[in-house]
Structures are given as C-alpha cells and as structure tokens.
Symmetry: C2
Subunit: 550 residues, 2 copies
C-alpha cells in the first residue's frame, strides 16, 4: 500500500532555494586580511549561484553530470560553487590542496575534471601542476593572486567575476533524482591510490538535516559558525550545506588559518560555533596565552579529524568555549558520532569521560563491532572490535568501483554492504564510541585482539619510558604477538623484566609482550604519528635487536 505523500526529491537545489529566500539576510563573511572582511548575504549567494551555473553551462559548456573541480579556500565563492555545481546537475569535486602534487594530478586525471575553479592565492600550487592535468581545459580564477603564473599554460583562463557579470540571477534548475551524484571527495588513504567518495543529493540533504538537529550541532539563524575545517575536506564536515539550510551565518577564514588572524576573527565577529581539527585549536590556545582575548562567544567548538587531547579540552573549558568531540571519515559525509554527554551525567564527574569518547551515533548511523572471528560484539564498553557503519550518508563503494592495484572491496565493505571503518574500539550500552586502535595496528593473537594503543599508553606511564610503540609480529603458535619498542629516558636504569612487571599491574597477563627492543626513537610519519609500517619492516628485516621474555 503506497502512501498518499508527495514524491519530492531531496536535493541540494532545495537547500539552496530555501536558504537564499527564507534566510536571505543571513551572511557569509570571508576574511580578507584587510581592514574589513567581505560580507555577502545568502540572497546574494543565491543570485550569484544562478549566475555561476549560467557561466558554467553557457560559457564553459558544462553538461550533464560532468565533474567540476575546485581548488579553493573557505570563502563565499567556494560556497557558490558548492550550490551551483550540484544544482545544475554536475558534480562538485573539491581538490585537497594539501595533497602531494603527484596525488593531486592523479586525482584530477581520474575524475577527468575539465574545469577547475581556483583561488588566485593558490595559483603557485596549480600553475606548475597544469602540464600534468591533461583533462583541464578551463581555469576560473577568483580573488587576489598573480595571474601571470598562468601565462603560457595551454588552458583557457577566466576571471570568476567577469564570467558572472551580467548573467541572469535565476536559473531553471533541473529536477534531479536524489540518488544522483552531487559532490565527490577523494580519500588520501595512506596506502594505495586515492579513492573517490561520491555523495548524492540525498546523502547531502539528510546529512544537513542531521547537522541541524538539536542533539547534533543544532545551530539556528541566531548563530554564526566559524568554519575552519577546509571546504576541500569532506565538504567542510557538511557545514556549508547544513548551515545554509537554516540561515546560520558563516565566518570563512579563507587562507588566514594562522593562530593570530583566527583569534582576531573570533574577537571581532563573535562566532557562536567553530569547527576545526585539534592542531588548529592547539595553535589558537598558544596565541591566546601570549595575547589573551575573550573567546567565550564560542558556545560550541566542534573538534574532529583526530582525538582532542584532554588538556586542550580543559583549557578551552576554562576560556568558556565548550569543546564537543565528533568522529567521522570521508566515507561518512562525515558525521558519524558526536560527543554530547547524556542528560544524566551533565554536571557530574562522569561528564568529562563522555566528552572524551568519540561520541554517540546519531539517528541515521547504524553501528556494529566485529570481532576477530567475524562475530558481532556486544555494546558493553569492553568488547573491542572493528567498527562497521551503515546509513544513508555512508559510502557503500568508491568511484569507478575501486581504485589502485592493491584495492580489494572486501577490505572496505562487508558482504552485506556496511562500511568497514578500519577503526577498532568499544561501544557503551548507551551508544558512545571509544576508538582504541586502527584495525591494521591491532594484534590478532589466538582469536583475540590486543590493543597496541593500550600497551603503549601503559608503557608510557612508566617514569623512565620516553616513548613506546607496539606492533604485531608473526608468531607460530598465536598467529600474532605484540612487540614492544621502547625509548628510554636519559639515565634510565629499568630493564625489560621490570617493564613487563610494571605492565602486568595494568594489562591482562596474556596480552603482555614477549618481544622487546630498545630503540633510539620511534619512527614517525610526516604528520608526527607513529609509523608502524616502518617498525614492522625493521623487525622483518632483522634490523631490531630483540630480547625475548617468555
């Protein structure tokens, strides 16, 4: 029996039309580094979005579901691209300007981008790449920057403002199937080639509703959101689409991501919400310690990308800005969890423990933990398994099916279509997720999992240990066992037997490492994380001096 409800597709176009009319007076404020920031109302954004669509269609020949790339900071023009490209039926492809040039080139070629919108300030990055971007025919430049860098390039160069000038301020937007592609973003996976995640109109619309739910970020037109998380990074966590829907003012830092201008933005524009990775907030905190300013306008500071150090959270609390953890991935649009403590712990000592989890799954994100043998584990706050998620804004495949020689779909998606996140953790009975490990770093020992992170934290709590990294190494009897590599502090007198005894006070006996090695330093990746691939290789090649304590 069918319902009698109207069949109205959930599209980015509808977000655009709603935001630019009902919330026409809300504003996008873009930092310029000059005396005054640049301000543009949602109504103007709506009109210019139509102009941009005309320009792309009439002047640059964008048709059907062609990809249109952006290489841009967070600013009003990027917001216009966010709405114009999907609403005309094309696919917004945000390029991550922090990727190595060869990856960027690979991605542009893979997506077959013919048009790229670029900020003038990013031409030093784009210009030398252009010879390697075969599909690119049109470069559309907005904002300040040296255009002469494009001299001699075999592409057509356009000025963004010139393209828009005189175009009609309305557009006969097509009615789009909600399951069609609206935007895409490549994951910069640490192994293998980048993989394209393609968001649908439906997934963006539903994710936007979720962002606006009171239980989630819950902003209204009385708020201003400082969106530091880049628009090239999972659609800036879905914020531009989401907040445009409800008239939340956007404060966009453009290229001014350094602590000093961020502090100035906050003081002058008084955002009530902000979103960024911990590194940004750590920098801001340092700046504020040197040049104190009142940042208590920020009632809510969303932190994601990696776990927020407790000290950072507490420092912000003292400044009157409440940090709220969130977790997600490019594949999850990205809102997967958000750490709003449940009602009964508010104001109690338990509250901080909840805030330090990755957070609670919102309606729309189903979760399960899968154990070493493929079994589903209980939500008891103890059983650790790989997190798998399902939902209408979660990826079930990648663009083109797969990317890269070593890519196996079964590594990323379960047989019944859930996303394997590659994260290992526990879930409490009330649905709060605590991540403990990456699946590839967990030690699979005799059908049980041992957390490398737990062992490392326990070891690093020893007064004579400077750093410790634990990796899985092959073991004939157990499959895998932990190897502990330890950096001792100067003048340390402890030995492995003592360290193992120390560990035994905190960790179950069967989890204790048999293999130990003293190293001078733990190898690290370019962003400062332990590089466990290197340790495993050193072990395999016999480069580590191993002591066995059975």
């Amino acid at each position: 029996m069918l319902s009698t409800m109207q069949d109205v597709p959930l599209t980015v176009t509808r977000l655009l039309m709603h935001g630019s009319t009902i919330h026409g007076t809300s504003q996008v404020t873009t930092w310029t580094g000059e005396a005054e920031p640049h301000r543009r109302s949602f109504a103007e954004i709506g009109a210019r979005t139509a102009q941009l669509a005309h320009a792309l269609h009439d002047d640059l020949g964008v048709r059907d579901d062609e990809r249109v790339a952006t290489l841009m900071w967070n600013n009003a023009e990027h917001v216009e691209a966010y709405f114009a490209i999907p609403s005309m039926g094309a696919v917004l492809h945000t390029l991550n300007l922090r990727l190595p040039p060869e990856q960027l080139a690979w991605i542009v070629n893979h997506a077959a981008d013919r048009v790229v919108l670029v900020n003038g300030s990013l031409l030093p990055l784009l210009a030398p790449l252009l010879p390697h971007l075969a599909p690119i025919e049109h470069v559309v430049v907005s904002g300040p920057g040296d255009r002469s860098l494009l001299d001699g390039a075999s592409v057509q160069v356009h000025e963004y403002e010139e393209l828009l000038a005189g175009k009609p301020t309305s557009y006969d937007w097509p009615e789009i199937d909600e399951r069609q592609a609206a935007a895409m973003c490549y994951t910069s996976g640490t192994t293998g080639d980048p993989k394209g995640v393609v968001y649908s109109h439906r997934s963006i619309y539903l994710h936007s509703m979720q962002v606006n739910m009171a239980q989630s970020m819950g902003l209204t037109d009385r708020d201003t959101s400082l969106i530091v998380v880049p628009q090239f990074h999972v659609n800036a966590w879905g914020l531009p689409h989401g907040v445009f829907m409800t008239g939340v003012n956007m404060l966009m830092p453009d290229r001014f991501l350094q602590p000093a201008p961020l502090a100035e933005m906050i003081e002058r524009e008084q955002p009530t919400h902000a979103a960024a990775v911990p590194t940004i907030w750590q920098g801001l905190l340092g700046e504020l310690q040197q040049n104190p300013r009142d940042i208590s306008c920020m009632k809510q500071v969303t932190i994601g990308g990696s776990a927020c150090p407790p000290a950072l959270m507490e420092a912000f609390d003292k400044l009157g800005a409440t940090v709220c953890h969130a977790w997600g991935m490019t594949e999850t649009s990205p809102l997967g969890t958000i750490a709003r403590p449940p009602a009964h712990v508010v104001g109690t000592e338990e509250e901080m423990a909840y805030r330090l989890t990755q957070g609670r799954f919102p309606a729309g994100v189903e979760a399960r933990l899968v154990g070493p043998a493929g079994e589903h584990l209980p939500w008891d706050g103890k059983s650790a398994g790989e997190l798998e998620v399902r939902g209408p804004w979660i990826a079930g495949s990648y663009y083109g099916g797969a990317a890269g020689e070593n890519f196996k779909p079964e590594d990323k998606f379960s047989e019944d279509g859930w996303l394997k996140t590659g994260d290992v953790g526990v879930i409490s009975a009330d649905g709060f997720l605590t991540l403990t490990d990456r699946a590839k770093d967990v030690i699979k020992s005799g059908g049980e999992w041992i957390s490398s992170v737990d062992l490392e934290n326990a070891l690093m709590a020893h007064p004579e240990v400077a750093e410790a990294a634990v990796v899985a190494v092959p073991d004939k009897k157990w499959g895998e066992r932990p190897l502990a590599t330890v950096v001792l502090k100067e003048g340390a007198t402890t030995d492995f037997a003592q360290l193992k005894e120390f560990l035994a006070t905190k960790i179950a006996k069967w989890q204790l490492p048999e293999r130990w090695s003293i190293v001078e330093a733990v190898p690290k990746t370019s962003v400062g994380k332990f590089d466990k691939k290197v340790i495993r290789r050193q072990y395999a090649e016999g480069d580590l001096e191993i002591v066995e304590l059975m």
Copy 2:
C-alpha cells in the same frame, strides 16, 4: 552518475531501533490519576513493541500492509502501537475519538480495519459502535475500564498485556520500501466524507528529523515533552516518532486532559516542552489563576490547531513559559510553519509581531500564494492568496484516490501536485506566514479578494458592535460582494451608515459592504466558530432582513 552512498531506506523501524538502544534509558511517563504515574523506558518500549508485533502477527493474523486501528489516549501502549504496526509492515490507523459516531463508523468501514486496539476507558464509546463496524474481528483492550461492556459483541476480545506476555522481545523486522504506507489519519473535513491521509515511512522519518532540528522544536535527551495534543490527531503533531528518535522523555496525560491534572503533571514532572491547542492552555491558565503553580520549567510551549490569542501568549510569557506558534494540517504531517522569530528581532518590539504570525516555513516545506486569477503572488507581506505547499511530508492525494460524492481532486491539489491548503494569507519576504481567511470565506469581487476576517475585526472594534460576521453573496456586476451581519450591544444607537463610515477609516473603500443586516446572534458551529454556511443559506433563502447602502 550515481553516487557511491549506501541505499538505506528511511523507515519507522530505524527510528524504533535507534531510540530503544541509543536512548534506551529515556522514559515514557503516563499519567494514571493515582499516586504515582506509570513509567516505562525506551528500551522496554522497544522490547514490548516486538512483543506486540508478534501478537498481531501470530495471534491475530495481521499480514502485509493491513490497517490496524487504535482508539486510544496518549500513553505508553499507544507509543508501542505507533512503532510496532508500521515496523511490521502494517499501517497504523489512529481513530479520532472525538468524531461523531457515524463518522467513526464510516471511517472504520472505509479503511477496512480488522483489528482495533482500545483503551478500557474508551469502551463506553466503542461498545455501542461495534454493531456498525462490520470489518472489526478483534478488539484488544489495554488499561482500566469495564470489559463487560463488550459482553455479547460478535468480536474476539483480547487483553493487551495477555497478548504480549511471553512473546519474544525481538522481532525480525522486514526491510520496508520507504515509500510504503506507515500510518493513516482521516481529516474530519467540515464538508463531505472524511478523507484518508496516508503517511509513508519516508515522510514520518523526514518529519521526525525536522521536528528535531534546532530551528524547529529542537529537543534533546535533556528535555521532557508533555504531549497533550492527541495521538489520534495527526500523529500527535509527529512528536512521539520525533522525540523517540532523540531520546526526549515523553510525558503522556492519558485521559487526564482537564486543567487540574495537567497543572499537577507539570509541577510534578517538570516538562521542558509541551504541545497542545489553545483551548487546553486557556483552561490551564484559568486553573493557575485559581491555584498558582510554577510552570516556568516549560521553556517552550508549542501551540497549533488554531491561532493563539495574543492575551494567552502574553499570560504565558509572564509565567516564564514561551509560547511558539505552529501551523499545519492533517495533510502536512503536520509541521508546516513554526514561529521562531528571526535573529534580528529578538529582544525588540517586533518580536511579538513575528511570534503572532503562523510562523516560518522550515526547509522541506515549499510554499506559494495563488491569487484569484491563478497567478503566483509575491512574498511582500501584503499580497493575499491561497497558500499552496509542497514537500516530502505533504499529501499529494487521498486514500483510495478520493472520498465522498462531492470531492473533486482539483479542489485540493494543483495540476502540478501542490496541496491547496484552503487557507488564505500573506507571506513576508523572510518567509513568515500570516493567515487571514479560509479560502471558502474570502469574497471574490471583480478579480480581487476581500478578506471577511479583516472586515469582521474592523467592525468588532466598534464600541457598539458585539459580534459581526461577513460572508460573500452573489453580485451581478462583481461576482461576489460582502454582506455584513451585525449583532449590536444593548442600547446601541449606531446605524449602518455610521458603521460603514467607521469601517471606511480602516478598510479600502472598494472593499466596504453594500449589504447589511442586524441579527440577534451569529450562528456558530459545535466548536464555537462562526458558521458561515448557515448565514449564506439564510441570505439565499431570504431569511435575513437586508439594508442596501450603495
């Protein structure tokens, strides 16, 4: 180009699973009239929902998309029915216990309900009706009430708790197409037969997300919602589905809808939100004037169903409870507008004017005004037209296509599928709706519309006028012209010419009535509204003494 997102249907089952796990400790509290109310956790509701589905399927043979009726107050068992029936694939059919018995019988026969869940306290209503409810085979009774009233009825009678006892507390819920029927509700239209509105899983899911958006009611698991609006009335404005999704505690009054128990509930259970029609709040206000209590726990009081008198809104403001207007219909699920003033008027004198509008359209409800000649009117706060709406939770047809001999689909739906609301009003540039008339009461005069309500309000502002009703009467030259019927106060000395002069100070000259009649009283409907059908008939049949002032 298809997206790579998972294809996960939006179903009531997912709301159920999310609420009963992630928010398992939230509670439904049902008033019992005894020393303690009855409390049941969302986790228990989840388990009992599965038991109810087993009972309906195994014991009563409910199959496929069969309708299952409820004749119940707001209580925990009704919430269980809200989730069990749609989640098993059947269709929840809420019966409005305030309808005249013959309409109730018509509706049960039209929907072919074979099973009805009923509260014991409503058996005095159901029992005498049963002989007229041919399709009903099973009556399932819950809560206190005299079962002997069913003695001799040719149906099978079951006890709700006995049916559930021992059934498994989980159910293998089917995966349902989101466009399938989940629930239905008949409009008690003032003319013609009732018309069935059939909600889909998708429409309920999306409406639930909307209810939870911060810009809308925006509740969280820290809130308790006193749901006075009946569950048989447009799904209690979508609240039970919506708040279950986010763990908002529900406070359910059952049959205790009188001012005194409502005041006691509020004082004892401290709800932070409440939803009801103005009459309920008017009654509560009277009670509080006699027996003052602190109701300032209610940060937000949603009023809908009919416009809230300004005096009532101000009285609640003084009590610390902020009233928020909302507008909707059975056909709109019902959330069509909600009157949260925009950011820039908060704290100014303009705020109250915004709060007294019907409110602003949320994302998901598209609106347009259609003028007398079918033209689309601007949103300028002045141009009055019939409101038409479109969206994924708005009806596009009725159950069975149409109901009643006089029903014409083109009266309710536009050619391009929008719902004609039958309401006439204006929309401001920022999307706030102010309703002025019912379309059938507007006077269509020479291609322009005259508001009967504006004329009535202007007339009733005259110190010697007790009441005034204005209706359209046929006119050879203009098509229709207004007829003013006036009830004068005792000892009044004014005459029609003076009244017309008085009107001319407030109303455009071309809108002034030529035809006038003094009446002893304005005929009223059973709920106290002006009965304009009667006035039009009295005029047509020559029963009114008319004075013409040309």
